[in-house]
Amino acid sequence: MIAASVAVQRPADARLLVIDALGTPREIPRRDFVSVLRRGDIVVANDAATMPASLAGRHVATGAPIEVRLAAARSLDLRDDARFAAIVFGAGDHRTRTEDRPPPPPLAPGDEIALGPIRATVERLLEHPRLAELRFTGTRDEIWSAIAHHGRPIQYAHLPAALQTWDVWTPIAAAPFAFEAPSAGFTLDWRSLGELRQRGAGFATITLAAGISSTGDPVLDARLPFDEPYRIPVPTASAIRRARLSGGRVIAIGTTVVRALESAATRDTSIVAGDGVATLRLGASTPLQAVDAILSGTHEPGTSHFELLRAFAADATLARMSEALERGHFRTHEFGDSILIERSRDAFPRTTSPHQGLRGLV
């Protein structure tokens, strides 16, 4: 596949590879994605806006330059907790591949980091020299002001030009709790939301604080995705229940929606509204309780995003998908083309809880 290197959320020629429940792929223009919807279906998207979570600064004790990438939080609200898990790099910026970035100076609990107008303290290292828990000093207003003005969107070397916050907020972006954009939502615009309604489909949202997607370190990457706090509004849980009762499908816009809904699914497959923390790692052995189809970017095998797709379709189907993406020169990464996979008919029946399945493994 080709890396999408320009930050355009909805290029006119964006493509969508649709893989139906029988595993058959077909391509449609992505702007027509609502054409796959049927009356009674419900589309669920992640409405988290993306905070500019890359903060440049210096390690106070040594004066060494540092880049902090806020990577995960425990709660959706800073009132509850001003602590973040953060990936910390040494000198440089996004134009250097993360794999090639120098490490930060050795960090120890109590170390101060100056990040523009604000300071953070290292609370502890999280079992890796590049992953630290940081606590910001200041009031909630001061922390948000510092992030809003000093932060930059987290970005990677495949996009050389500096991203602006407006590049990474989806049209439906509401509260800025995500650390990286829930980029499947770039597909949505107000026109398509209107068309979706006209087709008799429903639209609902969850909020999940999407964490960092890549660290450049294989040991850390293997730990992704980190735990992500989420919120499922009562109207969303009700709308999903109604869609289910009427035989409609639940179509998740992005991996973060799958993670939130499957985390909130109970044994009888109904969705519990409220706040939670998504700890699930979805993969081939995860039975889906809540979601029938996913619209997502084009992911490479081996990534945690691709692993999640294995919950939707057999490996042979995914291999055919990857081949079609490769052969068709689809674009990849957050501003690239998309896929839509409907859960395979022969995938796991909805019987056991994924929580239970996982707990047995870890």
Partner: protein, 227 residues
Amino acid sequence: MNRRILITGGTSGLGLALVRELSARGARVAFVARHREDVERVAREHPGTVGIVGDVSRKDDIYPIATEVIGNLGGLDALVNNASSLGPVPLALLGDTECEDLEIALATNVVGPFRLTKALLGALAASAREGRSPVVLNVSSDAAVSPYAGWGAYGASKAALHHMTRIWGEELAAEGIRFISRDPGDMDTQLHAIAVPDADRTTLKRPEVAAREIADVIAPIAVKAAA
């Protein structure tokens, strides 16, 4: 429910009166204004409000404003685009208006509210899905409708804002977001004093009165039945 409200131009005139009125009504209020000292003073005088330094006419300020507001309030139920520019000061006939002054009026009164509304649309739509009846109220003027000589830059920009408000409303009614264009009347404010220095202030409406009227629309006080 606690309405979460953003007011632009919140440190003087109608905006300040709205900060006062709405926070007294128990709303969670954030406000934007250009000058740090004014923002800090108003925030100090109204504990619990979130003061944000920013200029809605500047493209680069919009997303930091949106991030701060929604980060702090957790969402948004009402946006009041109140910050306004007269254009040339003192007021000038159109033929005497510098293009740059017209551009400033358009940037503040039309493009700024458009950008801010667009950045906050996701939050407003989320509010609608939660049944919180979101509303965008754009402060208009009789000069948006009547062609007063000397009010060209202001009047033309407010006319554009007024019309844009109606189109927003048409397009987003299905999403459950209400748009209101509101002429608060001629008020005894700094802006009016600059525009009409020799006005008889006793004939002007007090901004507190206009603020109460607007608050009744965007954050009505729940009427409690007598026990």
